[in-house]
Symmetry: D2
Subunit: 280 residues, 4 copies
């Protein structure tokens, strides 16, 4: 399914400031970038790097003092695989590929090591596999209030488990923590999210499970706010620490980001929420 | 119902060290101290103070270098009032006596301010009154593992809500936090606890509710390990910080405390767990 | 020295809401209230209570729906005792009066139990007494940024020790924690603070030391923003949890509080910062 | 300089249990592995993976019920480059290679995002480069007590900054956090550490700086317990979460690990502590 998406970012820079951006679509198999343009104003020389393990694309510029804007536009064809949830199971610790084990470790905002008992007690008896991760997302949706401003960039899964309020970032960190605590590799994905209202950069999770075609990553949105077949992924990471859409190394003023994603077909269907979405 | 109880504490003191003790039974209306003896060896001059708001009895000595022991023995008649739970309701914020409001505040180990949403979401729809506090205790009993050594003297309600393991002190701190978060004044009580196995100093909670005879304090044991009509209270406080049974001001070696409580009747009944226990 | 002071608070109340206020001057020996008026609009019946241990005056009303205001005005004569700092020493643990020991315990926002080593390492070699508490306040002034908005009502001494930013409340919590960790009883005082700019409710600390006239409480302002002989105390407590100037039990809209304190003499001197200020 | 090193690990396994090990020397340019043997008993089929970004070597086996041991022995030639500290400077944010930026992010045990002000206030005026990282290590050595048992596997840099006690793991996490907070990429290294007494697995840090030969990683031991030219690195990572020497996925009993490292020359010199040690 084809989408047009992008973002426009604007800054008032006081003195020459390096910026790291991660707004371009990740290079992953299930999303085919049809066209894309990135426009910097003023036109600056940019350094680029694609992280081999994830396909994340990082871009660095040093912006001079004054007004600085970045505009990214892309057309993308998203082809996640829809599978029957009951066919998607878990891998034992001895079966998870060695390079994937890193996604079992606790990370800055996902302290799975402190949430072992809570995870076991709450989800230990759920049917392993897609069903269990889905139960985690349902539990978070039902037990945490989605409240803008209730959290900030220091908020972690422990805080959210305790204070029970947050936004997409916090919902994802808690879901990832529960998965890891249960032995399910899980990671964070920033995304352009179709049908998210109001439009913004979104955060979802990926869990490593075994489907009919073998092990792979499955997408879940614990906020239940986006259509899972309309998630165009930007950054894939241990947690939000690694995929900020913009990191200025210095003090700058910034505009509220403008973010959009529209389906190219007039009225395509959202994926049935009863299907498992495999993204890699 | 009559009980014989006491404790024996032993220390090896390296240099003259002040000790604050809180092991004698509190002076409260529903427990009548029939006899009691406190023996210090060596025999030391002791300073004493009874806290007016609680009836807690504090004792201070300065122990010289060498072996130092304290032995406390008492006979007590406990007369908690057994009431029908459905007659025990909550007070509105405008009705709680002003001196009691202090027991709504968060304290060191009871961060009720951070647990508002969790408390509201979990217990907000419970029937107010004895029933709701009982539901809190049941929830803690069902959702937290009783594990010796899983916590220490720095562990607080936030930790227990997150890590889901602890002992009587931790169970009580979490129960108190939930009560306060719901607007129910609650406090911590250390006690000699009949039928606790193995015998030890115990910790329970008191919640301020309105019974048939007016507002008062009701006892609950979130660990479900003691008989509620066999709780002889020692220290009543905001939380454990205020009622350590022994606080040496200096480094000392100590024996494992010996603690006991026995019913004087050959085989008296424990209070039915279906009754509300009013203690003040 | 005589001061005129007061505050004006305004609320838009949606439904009948109990309020607890603590804005009237505490009844303590070194501040003589010459005149005072408290005006509620609409005129409501108020319940009052003065806490015996502190002299704090609490006032409760149930405000009906609609506009509700409180105005407090007082003239006060402040007579703190100015003493020579080098004559103000510490009490050993065995000498502190038993009722004062409660101010050694950790409390919600003053986790002195977790700051033992930091306190010992940083202030362990300071000259005991006024000098050491002053060193604590200097250290906080020098090592923590005073930044409005850097903290909130959940911020505790641990957070401030780590993140090194806060306001008067946070500076006081950290100072209290360090004192307690060193065995010096310390408590929190909210106050009308002369020369505070901009005017607002202020927070300072009191430490229990031994002066020329015996043991007593000494005032310190770790923010260094007020004149210590112009602190008219409102609430004295373990920490901020216990002396909020206003606690509505329900959701209300409120105006920014208006707070003032003016010296009645045209240009009286601030106390020399080289003197110890004994307040009780 | 040549070393013989190794470890012997022993387990009592109750039921078939997967283990992940990271005890073999990392494949990095400055350490040449001359010989090595890894012996599993019983002899088990092992799966192996070397992480491309770090050279870490992971080994997984599924141990059957019963006694299970692993023994690793290696001879290694360590050739760190000794440089003059004053020639080792920092890189600006715009100069750090893009793949290295990941080592500026906060991680589970290194919450550099919460330690910005503390780092800036304490080390902001230090001379940038080797000198500043060295100042960080000196500060930690001087301000944190090395106390076995004062921390556990959940302890993070925030805890250590607050409680001021820990072991090599904690010292390293705090040093890494300070570096990252100051814009210096830093990572964790587990190692066989010559002259560490008693011998054990050790933890040190690497900071990314610019030396006479260009940018690279420099070794620092904040505990000051090892000889920096005798550090044979095993696992290089964001923090300890990623390089446990052994991770059993299940409950097992284990022996205290036996770890050793000896210089092959009879009495080689430790590197002068006045030199910068470049390891990559």
């Amino acid at each position: 399914m084809k989408f047009s998406l992008g973002c426009a970012l604007g800054y008032d820079v006081k003195e020459p400031t390096p910026f790291l951006f991660n707004v371009e679509l990740a290079k992953v198999a299930t999303q085919t970038i049809l066209t894309e343009t990135l426009t910097l104003s003023p036109s600056l020389e940019a350094e680029r790097w694609t992280m081999p393990e994830t396909g994340n694309r990082y871009l660095r510029v040093v912006a001079p003092a004054g007004r600085f804007t970045l505009r990214y536009e892309a057309d993308v064809d998203l082809n996640p695989v829809l599978e029957s949830p009951e066919l998607v199971t878990e891998l034992a610790a001895g079966e998870i590929p060695l390079p994937t084990l890193v996604h079992l470790y606790p990370s800055r905002y996902c302290q799975s090591d402190r949430l072992q008992r809570l995870a076991q007690r709450t989800f230990g008896k759920e049917r392993p596999g897609y069903s269990r991760v889905n139960a985690i997302c349902n539990w978070i949706h039902d037990n945490v209030d989605y409240v803008g401003g209730a959290s900030d960039e220091l908020t972690s899964a422990i805080d959210t488990a305790t204070e029970r309020a947050g936004v997409c970032r916090d919902f994802s960190h808690l879901a990832i923590s529960f998965c890891r605590a249960l032995g399910i590799p899980a990671r964070y994905a920033s995304a352009y999210a179709w049908r998210l209202d109001p439009p913004d950069f979104h955060a979802v999770i990926e869990a490593y499970l075994r489907g009919p075609e073998g092990p792979g990553w499955y997408l879940f949105d614990p906020t239940r706010k986006s259509a899972a077949n309309g998630l165009a992924r930007i950054g894939i990471a241990r947690d939000a620490a690694e995929v900020a859409f913009a990191s200025p190394f210095g003090s700058v003023d910034f505009d509220k980001p403008d973010v959009w994603i529209n389906a190219q077909d007039p009225s395509p269907p959202a994926a049935p929420t009863t299907m498992a979405i495999r993204c890699e």
